[in-house]
Symmetry: C2
Subunit: 227 residues, 2 copies
DNA sequence: CCAGTTACTTGAACTATGTGCAAGCCCTTT
DNA sequence: AAAGGGCTTGCACATAGTTCAAGTAACTGG
């Protein structure tokens, strides 16, 4: 009977469990060690460090996705499925998102921006609901892209920092860097209402609404070209 | 001559400077203290804690935005401007994004997903470039929405955690919670190419492309309704 | 079956960082 | 001048990431 030894996979799974259960903050090496019935530092033989562990956990979770078949005749279906799957994956593992989102962005400036954004869409003729959703979609998109750029910038910063250092380090930095953060509202108001607890209930339709819009827009870009 | 004392605003500015210069990780109370020529702990008289400081810094940065005038005849212009401003604000202050994005999501699973996503769009007839952008847009959108949902979930978790506790705490939690993270690629490949350093160069056109698509889609939703 | 080697674990300890606290300084008010 | 409050400071503690030397268990060749 072989000695009861840790495995990298076992560690990653435990990390994901801890992350799912406790969130990003709940993951610390000592707690992880406890969950694995081992010393906290035992993990370091299998994993470089905590950041790397989180990265491994994230990658592990990405494995949950099943990719739809290619179907040129109905690319929207595939695109929508993939988008939805992604969405659900993140919903299942909030920390995957939270790994980049440990803090909050709900200040006065944000509210002001949201209010104005809403006003813009309402003035355009959107219904209150539509305006709400449109605002959320555009905000999300902007934030998402900004996050992409920031992630790239962060990557470049790392590259520059390691400057003329060995290519090895550059490889590591490349494989390691990049990330993004996005927050968006739709619910900004009624902070004082206890009903706020219900907010999580139905963001799904917003997701679909914006997704369709995006797909509509993309389809329009596609149209001019022959099949 | 009044004693040379700290002010909350001064602290927030210093924090933003530190964040802009060093990123989220570069901000720690002792460094902040040094920059302010004071003891690290002096800050605590003006600010509750570090998380709160980051929140204040974020809110401060939101103040940079100027909101466009309402113009129902050309709501797209306003929407586009706001989105672009947002985008640029985040670009100026990567940490604002990084505040939620400290880690990386660039593993095998992610690459696999990206590859497939690209394939879907290319099979649909998009050019390689268009497919790249379409994939990035949809991914960003999905991620952004997921982040929104996760943030809401996080908020609710806090609310539940504080359970039957005083409304005071609930207020605090409400005002404190919510966040999101998004990462998306477009550049996934060529990690080994040193040219990767150039990647940050032109994500702007991707931003505009997706933005227009989104706006197209939204406009289409708008059309059916009378002015 | 023994000796050495390798794989893996452990506990102590170092470091960095957020933060509480008691003491004190400086300015204002009376 | 005495008193008090606003603000700062240094000390100190707790937590968490990580290193390291030492130990233990399995495996390997002889």
């Amino acid at each position: 009977m072989p000695r009861d030894t840790l495995s990298r996979d076992q560690i990653v799974r435990a990390a994901v469990e801890l992350l799912d259960a406790e969130g990003l903050e709940g993951l610390n090496m000592r707690a992880l060690g406890k969950r694995l019935d081992s010393a906290a530092t035992a993990v370091y033989w299998h994993v470089k460090n905590k950041d790397n562990l989180v990265l491994l956990a994230a990658d592990h979770v990405w494995g949950e996705l099943t990719l739809p078949e290619l179907n040129p005749a109905d690319w929207r279906a595939a695109a929508a499925t993939m988008a939805t799957d992604l969405y659900q994956m993140f919903t299942r593992h909030p920390w995957l998102v939270q790994a980049f989102a440990a803090h909050v962005l709900y200040g006065e400036g944000k509210s002001r921006h949201d209010d104005h954004s809403l006003a813009v869409y309402e003035a355009a003729g959107f219904t209150a609901d539509q305006a709400d959703q449109a605002a959320a979609a555009v905000f999300t998109y902007a934030l998402g892209n900004a996050a992409g750029a920031a992630a790239t910038a962060s990557l470049n910063r790392k590259l520059n920092r390691y400057g003329a250092a060995a290519e090895q380090q550059l490889q590591d930095a490349m494989a390691e860097a990049k990330a993004i953060a996005v927050h968006y509202p739709r619910l900004r108001a009624r902070l004082e209402t206890p009903a706020a607890i219900e907010y999580a209930a139905s963001p799904d339709d917003t997701f679909e609404f914006g997704l369709e819009a995006l797909l509509d827009g993309l389809e329009r870009q596609l149209a001019p070209q022959p099949l």
